[in-house]
């Protein structure tokens, strides 16, 4: 199947089609056709395989194919935008399953056609695929809130991971040294140990580090596919897998930059640098409430919103969790109507995956021109009258700048504390996933509306309605006639 030039040309054409799809993601306008181009390229590559190889069991293959497509479709049209990160993580897992099963079958072939290169890459595909599978399931469970999002650290966690890696190295040897017909039992053991490795690796990653983990799993899913492709000698598989691995690596790198932490620190946190977080047992904020909390927070918030000329809204994971994106955008539009300048400041790691906030705000039909990133937003906070925090904590925690030695020290933050007033619509005053107290909550400028972000924003919107009803504009008086 290899050096046939027409095959090579056809493969090349499909790869170019894939890359054309990715290239269209440079802008919002082309992205949708880019996605469809890539989907078309994938259909082409499936047709190429069907054209080149006669299926021996078309019925079984057809049943599995149709069932998979139907299931994928059925879930994809139902999932809501807040569940996207969990869904994407779950799909990374599905890709991992396919990769390690294909590698397993290739490595157990007994017709003597498995080369040394095939054996080595098959092993790598098997290990990475299996570890991606379990890591993704854990990530998906955490993202869907089925598993607690706090990091779980086992005693001797690093030693366990090292031990598992060493075991994998030993289990690889027979399969890699004797290509072709590797003992199935050794491969099954290899799969099981790899699954264990992926799971134990992922449980230690906390909720706030999920954007890094999910990007990393994106890369490993691609890598597993690429090694599978090398193993079975399929250029298309190798090329597409490598492209995805590149994409996942870039996203992982950008997420690490956004947190100002090297990848190793995210995945292998120092035991001392991360305070123990026990969910409910997390330390509560200082007992002395700030002056602003004494007055009624709602009327203080309405008054601050009335007086403000410039408003910056900072969405975070809490907005996603409370499904408050519609209320957040309604508040923004409401303030715009009142003649204020309103922007959304988006931190690169706000939410649970890269770009998470952009999707949610797009769903709520926010004007895309109102979204600004970290670099654009930060110089503006000094001239901002009101910063509205919708379910964000660590990304606005000034301790990242002022305190040394905390897990978030040195992380670039949105400088909401520089705004004249700060309205906090968070669930409670507990620290974010970093476990670092947020001094913003005890600042005299802060107005704290703790509770479900959606409910808080609704109350704020109602408060603004009442305010407007109390001071009717002339035209509304005429039209309603009092």
């Amino acid at each position: 199947m290899m050096t046939n030039s027409s095959h090579l040309l056809a493969d090349l054409a499909v790869v170019v089609l894939f890359l054309a799809g990715v290239a269209q993601f440079r802008g919002v306008r082309g992205a949708r056709s880019g996605n469809l181009t890539a989907a078309f390229a994938l259909v082409c590559s499936v047709l190429l395989v069907l054209y080149r190889h006669r299926m021996i069991d078309p019925v079984y293959a057809g049943i599995a194919l149709l069932a998979g497509c139907a299931l994928g479709w059925w879930i994809a049209v139902r999932v809501n935008m807040v569940q996207i990160p969990a869904m994407v993580a779950f799909q990374h897992g599905a890709g991992g399953v396919a990769a390690f099963l294909v590698a397993y079958r290739e490595l157990t072939r007994t017709d003597g056609s498995v080369t040394a290169l095939g054996a080595w890459s098959g092993n790598l595909g098997l290990i990475i695929g299996a570890a991606t599978f379990s890591g993704s399931l854990i990530a998906s469970g955490k993202l869907a809130n089925r598993i607690r999002q706090t990091p779980v650290t086992l005693p001797g966690h690093n030693m366990i991971l090292l031990g598992l890696l060493a075991t994998i190295g030993i289990l690889c040897l027979p399969a890699a040294l004797a290509p072709g017909g590797a003992p199935a039992a050794a491969l099954v053991a290899l799969i099981l140990v790899s699954i264990l490795l992926g799971g134990i690796f992922a449980v230690r990653i906390g909720g706030a580090d999920m954007p890094v983990l999910i990007s990393f799993l994106n890369a490993t899913a691609g890598l597993a596919a690429a090694f599978c492709g090398v193993s079975i000698g399929n250029r298309l598989l190798a090329a597409c897998g490598a492209t995805v691995a590149a994409s996942g690596s870039i996203l992982t790198h950008q997420m690490c930059l956004a947190m100002n932490r090297p990848l190793a620190r995210v995945f292998l946190p120092l035991p001392v640098s991360r305070p123990e977080l026990n969910g409910e047992g997390a330390p509560l904020p200082p007992a002395s409430p700030p002056a602003a909390a004494q007055e009624d927070p709602l009327s203080a918030a309405v008054e601050a919103a009335r007086q403000a000329a410039t408003v910056m809204i900072i969405p975070g994971y809490g907005m996603a969790q409370a499904q408050a994106q519609v209320e957040t955008v309604r508040l923004a539009n409401r303030l715009l109507e009142m003649g204020k300048q309103v922007k959304f400041a988006i931190h690169p790691i706000a939410g649970r995956m890269p770009g998470h906030m952009h999707v949610l705000l797009a769903e709520a039909e926010a004007d895309p021109d109102m979204l600004v990133d970290l670099g654009e937003a930060n110089p503006e906070f000094q001239n901002t009258d009101l910063a509205v925090i919708a379910g964000a904590c660590d990304v606005v925690n000034p301790a990242a700048i002022t305190a040394a030695g905390t897990p978030i020290s040195g992380m670039p933050i949105l400088k909401a504390h520089e705004a004249r007033r700060v309205l906090v619509c968070n669930l409670d005053g507990r620290p974010g996933y970093s476990g670092v107290e947020n001094p913003l909550y005890s600042s005299p400028n802060a107005i704290l509306m703790f509770g479900d972000a959606r409910a808080s924003l609704q109350r704020l919107l109602e408060g603004l309605d009442e305010l407007q009803a109390a001071t009717p504009r002339p035209e509304s008086v005429i039209s309603l006639g009092g």
């Binding site: 306008r29 599995a64 998979g68 996207i84 869904m87 396919a98 990769a99 492709g229 490598a242």
Partner: protein
């Protein structure tokens, strides 16, 4: 040996091409990008299909079916969700005066 070289060239070339293209993707499209590349990584569906191009035992067929099911789920689910997300994004050239 030439197979090995071709494979290495394919791997390196695709990684570099992917790297160059994806560096240009704006932050706001990162979620759909990941969702789409996720669907592309399910190109392992080719490997799963090839499992059915050779005689196998019943257990081999079962493994092939599971692999094919997982890959097909990943392909269709990935592309459909990406499309749903991208439909939410409005094209940029519209006046900033929202109502």
């Amino acid at each position: 040996m030439s197979d090995l070289l071709i494979m290495l060239a394919v791997l390196a070339g695709s990684f570099v091409a992917g790297y160059v293209l994806i560096s240009k993707v704006p932050v706001k499209l990162h979620t759909p990008l990941m969702s789409m590349t996720n669907a592309i990584s399910a190109i392992t569906i080719l490997g799963a299909l090839l499992l059915f191009a050779a005689e196998t035992s019943p257990s081999g067929k079962l493994i092939g079916m599971v692999a094919l099911l997982a890959a097909a789920f990943n392909v269709v689910g990935g592309f459909v969700i990406t499309d749903r997300m991208l439909r939410l994004f409005k094209s940029p050239p519209r006046p900033g005066n929202s109502k």
